[in-house]
């Protein structure tokens, strides 16, 4: 009797160790896009390092860092088209920034100021950007997966060429919403790309304690989805795999579970990997690097300093948005006692 489960495929890659690019993927990456991805990954790294520092200083309560996962996050976001939707989990603030969320808006969100779009209701939770269909998600693990499937399913029933990308970590594959969401995606053929950042650990718990098979993409088989393993430190491979999955899904070919395999950043740094490629392509040098790092650091510092000094929301804003009409939200909602 033959079992379906087998050893996982080696993750797909595009960037070679010497900085050159597998010619099969060369078409995915113009000079302009290569530089834009790199600049954004440096921004993401800088934001994470600063916010982790502020959290350790006790200035902000929490921050979920994505250091080492920039290629998976930014590469996948860059693969989606403007009309597509993106559902982040706790670590994909770089996706909202890629889709156009200004750094200042993100900083106000982090500090929960009066100018935060959530009015300080949900700071510390994933940022959203309505103008570019980056959805509001909670930090609860996996709950956003059915939402992404619902958007994609609705788009499919309305004959719109729209897909949804949903991010989550390896721990989420143990959640009921992962199973439910991917099962619905398979049954409805919703155009969804489910991107799992498999960095081997959910907080402290190793992936072997989440899931028995080695490799998570194999789970796609049982849902009637495509399953792909990709090198999550290789931004070109992620971009290429997610774009292909997105296009196939919109064409009616079904959704995809993408497993982005991400080793510890001490072993492979995705930002350095892309920089080596830019240098090999003569798009980058030490002077440009120095200028970019200084600019990004100054931008991030300015945004955070302004937000840190900004006013808090007025006390009454606690009641805003419970229901559409705040006076209807409860007969005693605003009563001081």
């Amino acid at each position: 009797m033959q079992s379906i489960a087998s050893a996982p495929n080696a993750p797909l890659g595009a960037l070679r160790d010497d900085g050159s690019l597998d010619p099969a993927h060369a078409g995915a990456l113009t000079d302009e896009l290569a530089v834009a991805l790199y600049e954004h990954m440096v921004l993401a790294r800088t934001v994470d390092e600063r916010l982790v520092a502020l959290q350790r200083e006790g200035v902000i309560a929490s921050h979920s860092s994505a250091v080492g996962e920039e290629a998976a996050i930014v590469g996948a976001a860059a693969a989606m088209l403007d009309d597509d939707w993106i559902f982040p989990s706790a670590r994909e603030h770089a996706a909202a920034l890629w889709r156009g969320m200004p750094l200042a808006a993100y900083a106000h969100h982090v500090f929960g100021t009066a100018r935060d779009a959530t009015l300080g209701h949900a700071s510390g939770d994933p940022p959203f950007w309505r103008a570019a269909r980056v959805a509001s998600c909670s930090p609860l693990v996996g709950t956003q997966i059915p939402h992404a499937v619902g958007v994609a399913w609705a788009a499919r029933t309305r004959k719109a060429a729209v897909a949804a990308l949903v991010y989550f970590g390896d721990g989420a594959t143990s959640s009921g919403d992962f199973h439910t969401g991917l099962n619905f995606a398979g049954v409805t053929r919703a155009p969804v790309v489910a991107l799992c950042r498999n960095n081997g650990f959910a907080v402290s718990t190793p992936v072997a304690r989440q899931s028995a098979p080695s490799g998570l993409a194999v789970k796609a088989v049982a849902y009637g989805l495509h399953g792909v393993r990709v090198d999550g430190t290789d931004v070109v491979a992620v971009l290429s795999v997610v774009r292909a999955a997105r296009d196939r899904a919109v064409a009616g070919g079904g959704g995809t579970l993408v497993e982005a395999v991400i080793p510890a950043v001490e072993r492979v740094d995705p930002v350095e990997r892309l920089r080596r490629h830019l240098e090999a392509r003569a798009l980058w040098d030490a002077a440009r690097e120095q200028r970019l790092v200084a600019e990004v650091a100054a931008d991030v510092e300015r945004a955070l300093a302004e937000a840190r000094a900004a006013d808090k929301p007025a006390p009454d804003t606690i009641f805003d948005g419970v229901l559409a009409s705040s006076t209807a939200s409860a007969p005693h909602a605003r009563a001081p006692r």
């Binding site: 939707w85 949900a122 509001s136 609860l140 059915p146 619902g150 958007v151 619905f184 559409a324 409860a330």
Partner: protein, 326 residues
């Protein structure tokens, strides 16, 4: 206005059909809601008229039904998911409580997930432990939801039209014991019953009785008996449980000075507790007797002894009389 005699099932079906014809964004989804028309036949005929992109048989997962409906709502549709029995809603509880109820608040109003979750509630149909419960207080306790429970066909249609057009997520509890037993004249076409407005179904001067859904009829039957003994009850059908019509309740208690609350759910932390607290806060000096709750017991819902569990007229009557004579 032309009216037609209907039961609750027909009135709710009429409301769904009316809204689906009026608004292309309205979609129905759930377990067995399509070709077969739902286990109570509430969605019967909708699949034939609107097709399987708008009347959707889903996989058997309540969390998936509500979770994907949230995505549909984000996209711009107006989902009306059906949970086959309220007893089955708990796999969707996280999606309702953590996601649906909080979407507007956590996004500063930039995202909403407006939908109407329909589900049959209550006992008295030999449904037993897992087909009879009344979980309304678990949802009223969660900020961000509206909770509706009609008691008659006219209100059922009017409240469902209002719920589908309301900007907020609504839990629409359908008392299954009176799905076919409650009949009445229902206006054809367009009308709404305002969410948040109770109805004084019988005026009276001695005791205020708050009830909703199937238990309203038990309160009325008990009030008929009380009248024979000289006690006139004012019966208020809450219709909307949240936001509750506190003004109508308080005005009635200020008139009668006495309060009886009836509900099927267990007494402890049931909605009756909140109603009594609201009255105490707002009409304490008008009370002539301690408020009384006549409720389900603090047990799971029993199969064999369900008529002993339910707060039927024979249990409500003594409460009315004792309160009146306190």
């Amino acid at each position: 206005m032309t009216t037609t005699q209907m039961n609750m099932v027909q009135a709710i079906n009429d409301a769904l059909r009316h809204e689906m014809r009026r608004d292309d964004r309205v979609v129905v989804l759930g377990e067995d809601v399509g070709k077969v028309g739902g286990v109570f036949r509430v969605t019967q005929g909708l699949w034939d008229e609107f097709g399987d992109d708008r009347v959707i048989d889903t996989p058997l997962s309540e969390g998936g039904i509500v979770g994907t409906a949230i995505g549909m709502a984000l996209y711009g549709l107006v989902p009306v998911p059906e949970i086959q029995f309220a007893d089955f809603i708990y796999p969707a509880y996280d999606q309702i409580v953590s996601e649906l109820a909080k979407m507007r608040w956590r996004s500063g109003g930039e995202y909403t997930a407006k939908m109407v979750v329909r589900t049959p509630v209550g006992g008295g149909i030999r449904g037993g432990l897992y087909h009879s419960q009344s979980p309304e207080s678990l949802f009223i306790h969660v900020a961000g939801l509206k909770v509706v429970c009609p008691s008659n066909p006219r209100d059922a249609k009017g409240l469902l039209l209002a719920s589908i057009r309301d900007p907020d997520p609504v839990l629409f509890f359908e008392p299954k014991r009176i799905y076919r037993a409650a009949k009445g004249e229902v206006p054809e076409g367009e009308y709404t019953v305002e969410i948040g407005k109770a109805s004084v179904v019988r005026p009276g001067e001695h005791v205020t009785v708050l009830a909703w859904g199937a238990m309203l009829y038990e309160a009325v039957a008990a009030a008929d008996e009380a009248r024979k003994q000289g006690v006139e009850c004012e019966i208020v059908d809450l219709r909307t449980l949240w936001p509750v019509d506190v003004d109508t309740i308080v005005a009635s208690v200020k008139k009668t000075g006495r309060l009886v609350v009836v509900h099927e759910a267990p007494k402890t932390c049931g909605f009756g507790a909140e109603l009594v607290a609201l009255v105490n806060e707002r009409a304490f000096v008008h009370l002539e007797a301690p408020p009384v709750r006549v409720c389900g017991y603090d047990t799971p819902f029993p199969y064999t002894l369900e008529m002993d569990y339910l707060p039927l007229a024979h249990r409500i009557l003594p409460a009315m009389l004792e309160t009146a004579r306190y």
